[in-house]
């Protein structure tokens, strides 16, 4: 072998892997957006077989040999080839630890679990979902032990979504966050809340909300030739490469801000994917580097831009043009206060910036207990409801608005939730640097997003998976990561909003 042969082998096999991942992504996306309600059986068969073929490629001796060659001839390889070899070697090792039958059975299980979760949420029927959750938890425990028998399963899962994190890491992070948030939320508790009945009990036809989505595509420079928006129960972003990205939203006629901020959030994920170096499209450098870095971008647009006074003032007349009757007699400032009202609530995806991380803390604590064996699946609804009462003071009326609200666990994505808070904190720190280099407020006030997106592309998006996730904040800001920027931001914003 020589370095060119090694590179060619990587190119060829990664291109094949891309084909399988492309197929599985489109099949899954279709399942959530367009497929008939009871078509899951054949889809399970297909996904099982496709994932089995992907398994064989990932663990093939040929690929491993080529990656090993690169890693033992570092001086002949460029940074991109080296990083690919590193990622491939790690994936190959971890995948090979799982017997192929169990690997494909897992793909079939998550396909079925999505379907079961969807119906359970629809029918407020946790009991039908519980056996699947048990199987999913059990599978993740087993897999993590195959891969690293010494490591705690939940530590493994946290690290799989954000390299370098663990319970220890997040315990410290959430302690820092709670130390500021809990007293801040308490202070606001007896403050007067803005009247939101006109905005959130009105009737907002889906057609108008679709126009609002179009407006957000323009506002955030989302390239319609390479990104579309469909409708699903749970908004998400998915894609196959930098030329083919999909976001989804959910229109609630009673509250237009739900879809509005979902679209801005998912649009942030999409802008990340759309700006990755297209040379990485068919190898493992394609795609966002980690969930926290991904969420740092979605939450950046959703909150630091979308919920800023400057953006709301830009948006308001356009919003009022789409919904003239519903908005008559109201002002941008009222709208601004409503979408920033810190009000303990039931649904994570609709939470305000201040209470949002408490929704995450609840999920983090539940997952930690679940994987420590301190709580059984059957007890999850009660524990969920107890923690919502404890941390947010709200009574959960049913499991649909409680434990069943999120799609993540149906895909075995345990350990994902903490990345939402961590990512939000990442981008608070990044924002401070951005503000030193760009006139952020003026740009947002004019909806002049291109310089902001370019700035972020240059420092984050274009690299795809080239750099390790933990390197971004220090590289961009020149400082180690600290939750302080996030908590300072919230303190300042909510002190002003509520005259604390």
């Amino acid at each position: 072998m020589d370095i060119n042969t090694a590179r060619q082998t990587l190119d060829d096999i990664e291109r094949k892997l891309y084909a399988y991942k492309h197929a599985m992504a489109i099949i899954s996306n279709d399942a959530e957006t367009a497929a008939p309600a009871e078509s899951q059986q054949g889809r399970g068969v297909a996904l099982g077989i496709l994932s089995g073929e992907a398994y064989k490629l990932t663990t093939s001796a040929e690929l491993a040999a080529a990656a090993e060659y690169v890693l033992s001839h570092k001086d002949e390889a460029d940074a991109e080839l080296l990083r690919r070899a590193e990622i491939i070697k790690r994936d190959a090792r971890e995948t090979a630890c799982i017997p192929i039958d169990e690997y494909t059975a897992f793909t079939e299980l998550t396909n079925e679990s999505y379907y079961v979760w969807y119906n359970a949420k629809l029918n407020n029927d946790f009991a039908s979902y519980a056996p699947y959750l048990e199987k999913l938890v059990e599978t993740m425990k087993r897999f993590s032990k195959y891969i690293d028998p010494e490591k705690d399963t939940y530590d493994y899962l946290l690290d799989s979504f954000e390299e370098g994190t663990s319970r220890e890491y997040y315990d410290k992070f959430f302690d820092d966050v709670k130390a500021v948030l809990v007293p801040l939320i308490a202070k606001i508790n007896d403050k007067k809340q803005p009247d939101s009945d006109w905005l959130q009990n009105g009737s907002y036809p889906v057609e108008g909300q679709r126009r609002l989505t179009e407006l957000m595509f323009d506002a955030f420079c989302l390239d319609r030739n390479h990104c579309t928006c469909a409708e699903t129960e749970h908004p998400y972003t998915n894609g196959t490469d930098s030329q083919n990205v999909r976001i989804t939203t959910h229109y609630h006629t009673e509250d237009p801000t739900s879809s509005l901020f979902s679209v801005i959030h998912e649009g942030g994920h999409a802008n990340y994917e759309l700006h990755i170096n297209p040379e990485y499209d068919y190898n493992c450098l394609g795609g966002g580097v980690s969930m926290a870095v991904h969420e740092s971008q979605s939450r950046f647009y959703e909150n630091y831009v979308g919920r800023s006074r400057e953006f709301v003032e830009w948006l308001w007349p356009r919003f009022a043009e789409i919904f003239p009757e519903q908005t008559a007699g109201h002002t941008a400032e009222e709208f601004y206060r409503i979408v920033n009202a810190a009000r303990p609530s039931l649904i994570r995806t609709e939470a305000d910036e201040l209470t949002y991380s408490m929704h995450i803390v609840i999920r983090y604590e539940i997952e930690k207990k679940l994987f420590a064996g301190e709580i059984a699946v059957a007890d999850l609804p009660a524990e969920w409801n107890r923690l919502y009462k404890e941390y947010l003071g709200v009574d959960v009326p049913d499991d649909t608005r409680g434990i069943l609200q999120d799609v993540h666990w149906s895909g075995a994505q345990f350990g994902y939730f903490p990345t939402y808070s961590l990512g939000t904190a990442y981008s608070a720190q990044i924002l401070e640097t951005l503000k030193k280099e760009l006139d952020f407020k003026t740009l947002v006030a004019a909806d002049n997003m291109h310089p902001i997106i370019d700035w972020l592309s240059e420092r984050i998006y274009r690299f795809g998976c080239l750099n390790k996730p933990a390197t971004y904040v220090p590289a961009i800001t020149g400082e180690p990561f600290s939750a302080k920027y996030y908590t300072d931001y919230l303190t300042e914003k909510y002190t002003e909003l509520y005259n604390l």
Copy 2:
């Protein structure tokens, strides 16, 4: 090997083939219904690789050996296993004739050609599509010679869509059809036509037309749990197995009957697929047996049911409920006469029953000349326009409404069009038998479709690909196939409608 091992090998490899076909079907369906406009590049990469893997499975020595074992131990195999072995052997032989690189390049070419056709139709730009058409024609010529150097390419293509057909077969068939249709159309030429301005120049919002689609799902017992309807430029049906079928339509606000009859037509294809024995879902007996048998069903529901006086009388009050203003002061009989008006026109999919086959004759004659080398791709628009003038007396205003109107050629589906007429004629003959056994008119008048669908399922649908296509008409009707039933039906219907 023994028969059980052979069966197991077939089961295993066909299941894998199903996975690849499932993936390619969903990717293609997504491309036409949901994908961003310029996402074709990665899709081409993925489809090329997936089709290459399917090629390897189809031509694998293991599969061939198992099929051969079954075919040489006929007494040990049941009818289903035997037919599977037959189909597999033929597919393997034909596929193996084509070099794998050319096979995958062809998949990539049709992916790109669809995109080019779509834009060419949108922009009335035949020139941009012509080089692709040339490549597609050249590829089909080359492939047919690989498979059977002695056989004429167009004969090969006709046979590939309907086993047992050829130019000779269709020349005779279309001569029989033209002998009746040409004078019948001429007779109607100077007859008074019904006034359709109120129906076809009105404004029919898409929302109302979507309700009409829902009504047709009910009217034709389409199972929403296993079948959905999306919107595309060109209506079609596609599916992965009997539990997962998709139809599409196109809403034209100026004429609600366009989508109405598209939905009934595609719903006919869907009902066929939905009623195939689910045991065939993951092997080569799944899916409809041939294009003419498939079209016999779509055209059966579209015309013999959908355009019948009984169905129109059932439909009218429901149609008027959806579009009260547009229909005020009009009657079911007016509606019936409009949807049955024999009026030479430009667009095949919107043609009436009488002139429909002339649209097919034009395409058949063009394809025949194209593959005989008697006409070049560059001359197709002129030839198309000349034939529309000659056979239908209409002037084609632009290529969008002319040569670019149909999607088929962009997928290299040359030889497909004749199956529309042949299938329509198949079902005219089948209808005569059905009428002897069921009270067809009474059932249709009450929209009592279940007995009709059951009758057809029992005789056609459930078999999937088990029987050869040419066996259906003789088996069901007890007579050899004859175009006479089709031409008699049209003569009777149009003599009454126009008092000939």
